[in-house]
């Protein structure tokens, strides 16, 4: 999933198949600090109002088929949107295992993994008391196809997996979503997603071994057709969970209250405690940190969406009295720098850029070791099955400092081999696209300074933050900043998306690289591989391949820190989402 602003640190969605491949306790969680007392349920009472403080102007959306931000997926899922399967609501690696939610079990797959079926439990109700039906689930899934409403905002796995013929609509299928479909077109979808009583069956065009993880995404959540308000649905979605939306006003607040028609007996996942959850939007980041440190009044019952400002880390982690209220851990993102292979087609120049780069200085400017560990893979360490630190380029220093001498040597090689790219890099300069923020001004100073030492010229090209990804989608610089986290615990949601043909986040223009064909062939092979261990081996090899080609330069495996009010309980970092299990939070005192 896409990276938001690093300062806002709106965090990750990383699903992990715990146990599937014997996840070992391998120092991956180093530096991890749980919330101490606040992560437990000591002294928790029923009732009360929980506050969520955030500098965001609003939720990105409440529409299940459009939401794609990790923390929001977890927050809406645990409060007002139930799905067929969901993640186990516990701390630690166990929290990445799958449990049946609306479905009676984790689904049944055909032998060739192209057909998956799930059966709904009895007694699941909507907020008006009516029953959640199989047709509601099918309707919800069909909304992803309606790109004129859902605008490709959410994950597109329904489009890429479901067995619907190719076509001319924006989503490249023959089905335009429920709002525009003719009867024949609707029949195409109904063939792919069919209902038989309480059992829903998905027909896939490719074998997918972990489709039950896919359906835990809110994009596969039910929506009752009668309640669908199309593009307005994101303002007031219909609830089938323990909370419902009372009011939502962007820039002001979102109020969630208990849903009396939620049937606790049908829900083995959620354990709500508070009566009311109030999101306060548009607060100043500095003010949020001040309020959390002061911990007075209602702020004792508050949590933060967006994390601690890097500048306050020293205060929060230097004060032992805050031990029970702070958390620290990987958020699932890998921060990296994309190279435009069309314009920087010379491998030696790309290697020189890598060697000359001062990752240590960049990390210090970001706020130091708290902000992340130097990445050796585009797959985050949290994806234990697929993660293996790659062997980095010869001459790369482990402490992140640059090897300017080796970089200059590479540039001299480049001078002979590819004089055109060499001239561009040394005389015209390489254009570096990045979001225009105060922190990025410092990163650029470091890039310009350290690469300049190796004779490589960098031209600063700041782009307005909210338009950044839309801009590089149309016009790619020579270097571009980026961050990515997996959609669930499979590198299939990372490497093909970032580097493969038609990858949703591939801005490398690497298809013309002679090395691309071999990569793409292997990606197809890995996607089709049904033996998970063999697949993981292929992903590790592909990650090494990408690192060897220097299509991108990995920066750091990002970490996030947070702080909660002193009355808040149950605030553990829920690994799949990199945030708390919002619906289960309780208050003491």
């Amino acid at each position: 999933m896409k990276m938001r602003s690093k300062v806002l640190a709106i965090v990750a969605l990383v699903g992990l198949v715990a146990g599937a491949c014997g996840a070992s306790g391998d120092g991956v969680q180093s530096g991890e600090e749980s919330g101490g007392l606040s992560a437990t349920l000591d002294g928790v009472k029923d009732g009360g109002t929980l506050y969520v403080l955030t500098s965001a102007e609003g939720a990105s959306t409440l529409d299940p088929q459009r939401v794609y931000t990790g923390a929001e997926l977890g927050a809406w899922g645990s409060t007002f949107t139930r799905t067929l399967t969901s993640y186990k609501p516990v701390a630690g690696k166990d929290g990445t295992s799958l449990v049946a939610d609306m479905a009676t079990d984790l689904g049944t797959a055909s032998d060739d993994l192209t057909t998956w079926s799930f059966t709904l439990r009895d007694g699941i109700t909507w907020e008006d008391g009516s029953e959640v039906t199989c047709a509601d689930v099918a309707y919800g899934v069909s909304r992803t196809f309606g790109s004129e409403v859902t605008a490709f905002d959410g994950p597109q796995y329904a489009v890429s997996y479901l067995d619907i013929p190719e076509g001319d609509y924006d989503n490249l299928t023959a089905y335009p979503g429920p709002w525009l479909a003719t009867e024949e077109e609707q029949a195409l979808f109904d063939d792919a997603v069919s209902c038989d009583g309480k059992t829903i069956t998905f027909n896939l065009k490719i074998p997918v071994a972990d489709f039950n993880f896919t359906v835990s995404l809110l994009a596969f959540a039910p929506v009752p057709e009668a309640q669908d308000t199309a593009d307005q649905y994101g303002l007031k979605p219909f609830s089938n969970g323990p909370f419902k939306v009372e009011t939502y006003e962007e820039g002001k607040e979102l109020v969630l209250v208990r849903n009396e028609n939620w049937n606790a007996e049908s829900d083995e996942v959620r354990a709500p405690k508070v009566d009311k959850i109030v999101w306060q939007f548009g607060l100043d980041e500095t003010v949020i940190d001040e309020r959390m440190l002061a911990d007075s009044g209602d702020d004792k019952n508050a949590i933060v969406y967006g994390g601690i400002l890097p500048v306050n880390l020293q205060i929060v982690f230097g004060d032992e009295s805050l031990k029970d209220r702070r958390t620290d851990g990987f958020d699932g993102f890998v921060i990296y720098t994309m190279l435009n292979i069309k314009t920087v087609s010379c491998l030696e120049v790309r290697q020189a850029i890598w060697l000359a780069l001062d990752r240590e200085a960049l990390r210090t400017a970001a706020g130091g070791p708290f902000t992340g560990e130097f990445a050796q893979s585009f797959v985050a360490p949290l994806l234990t099955t697929d993660y293996a630190p790659a062997k980095l380029l010869d001459g790369t220093k482990g402490d992140g400092t640059p090897n300017t001498k080796a970089a200059i040597a590479k540039m001299n090689e480049a001078k002979e081999k590819c004089p055109e790219v060499y001239a561009k890099a040394t005389e015209d300069g390489l254009r570096f696209d990045h979001p225009d923020t105060d922190t990025w001004k410092k990163y650029m100073a470091i890039w310009i300074d350290t690469l300049g030492a190796a004779g490589i010229k960098i031209n600063d090209n700041p782009i307005e933050q909210s338009k950044y990804y839309a801009t590089i989608n149309g016009d790619q610089g020579d270097l571009m900043s980026a961050g990515w986290a997996a959609d669930w615990a499979n590198a299939s949601t990372v490497l093909p998306e970032l580097f493969g043909k038609g990858g949703g986040f591939n801005y490398h223009n690497n298809e013309e690289d002679p090395a691309f064909a071999e990569f793409q062939t292997k990606v197809e092979e890995a996607k089709m591989e049904t033996d998970r261990a063999a697949q993981a081996k292929l992903w590790k090899e592909l990650n090494q391949y990408v690192i060897d080609q220097v299509w991108s330069i990995p920066g750091s495996a990002s970490k996030a820190q947070n702080i909660v009010g002193s009355n808040v309980r149950g605030a553990y970092q829920w690994l799949p989402f990199g945030w708390y299990n919002l619906g289960d939070l309780g208050l003491a005192g």
Partner: protein, 330 residues
């Protein structure tokens, strides 16, 4: 009041009691401002800033404070300035920038170059355009006057700050495609262009009003009856009498442009890395006010002192030169 003083002194000269040369309004103003201590102090502060800005490249070498050099030693593992008071030390007299360890004094000096450059050139451009259009409107009257005045009204009706921010990227790219060197040259050119575009109106209105009244005065009538051409009228008759207003206006618009440069940098319509600008420093420093308060305080005070000095000087000049200023008790 001051006009009478001038007349009196020259009358004395004519009567032969004491030979005193007739003083122009400009000379009289100068004499008066010398007696205003606040304005004189402000004047020397401004001179100091200009001096530091002009000699910044030499000064940073002498003081060994490179504004672009990263100093990892001066910041701790959190990226915050090592040591108390924002890292103030002999090596870094005003401390260092969090994150990079770049020297704040050096960056302030280089920032002063940008601020004063934008302030000065911006003022010269708006004044030139404003005075020219004002004189044309006042002298020609009729259709030309209406045209220029309506043009001014329309310009003032624009929400200027919003437009400046919104147009920044497309206009900078346009300028680059016209051959202006890409990067900071194009960005400064853009800022100056929009400053001129939105700033000329005030000057033009002021001058137009003055010209409308001056052109009916006896000395202008006299010059005209001797057959003086437009050139003579403008340069010999009108401009000398406009100087006081122009000087006052300039001294008041300079600080506002210096501050506007900082504002625009703060809002992201500023310079590219690694250039130093006061606005960028101020914008960045807000987040660090708890961890490194000096980083917010020092650039803030630096900017405040300069703008205050300009304003005091401007007030002094207005008191001295503007005949209708009733604050002057001479």
């Amino acid at each position: 009041m001051s006009d009478e003083a001038g007349v009196m002194e020259s009358t004395q000269g004519v009567s032969g009691v004491k030979v005193v040369a007739g003083l122009s309004p400009f000379q009289m103003g100068l004499a008066r401002i010398r007696r205003n201590r606040g304005a004189i102090i402000a004047f020397w502060i401004v001179v100091f800033y200009v001096f530091v800005a002009a000699l910044a490249p030499i000064l940073v070498k002498v003081l060994n404070i490179d504004p672009y050099a990263l100093d990892r030693e001066a910041i701790n593992d959190f990226g915050l300035p090592a040591g108390p008071m924002g890292g103030i030390s002999w090596d870094h007299p005003f401390g260092v920038e969090p994150g990079t360890g770049r020297d704040i004094l050096g960056r302030l000096m280089y920032g002063a170059r940008i601020s004063l450059l934008v302030g000065t050139i911006g003022t010269i451009l708006t004044t030139t355009v404003g005075v020219t259009l004002g004189i044309v409107a006042g002298l020609r009257r009729g259709f030309v006057d209406s045209l220029i005045s309506r043009l001014g009204d329309v310009t003032l009706a624009f929400p200027s700050l919003l437009l400046i921010i919104a147009l920044a990227n497309p206009m900078t790219q346009r300028l680059e495609s016209w051959g202006i060197p890409a990067g900071n040259t194009a960005r400064i050119t853009y800022i100056l262009t929009v400053l001129t575009f939105f700033g000329w109106v005030y000057m033009a209105r002021l001058v137009r009003g003055q010209v409308l009244s001056l052109r009916e005065r006896e000395f202008v009538e006299a010059a005209r009856s001797f057959g003086a051409g437009t050139g003579h009228l403008v340069f010999k008759q009108l401009l000398p009498n406009l100087w006081p207003q122009i000087i006052v206006f300039v001294s008041l618009s300079l600080p506002s442009y210096v501050a506007l440069e900082a504002t625009l940098s703060f809002l992201g319509v500023g310079l590219l890395a690694p250039a130093a600008s006061w606005g960028i420093m101020l914008g960045d420093s807000v987040r660090y006010y708890r961890a490194a308060p000096t980083y917010l305080f020092i650039p803030g005070v630096t900017l405040m002192v300069l703008v205050l000095a300009f304003n005091l000087l401007g007030d002094g000049l207005r008191d001295a030169f503007d005949p209708r200023s009733d604050r002057q008790q001479l």
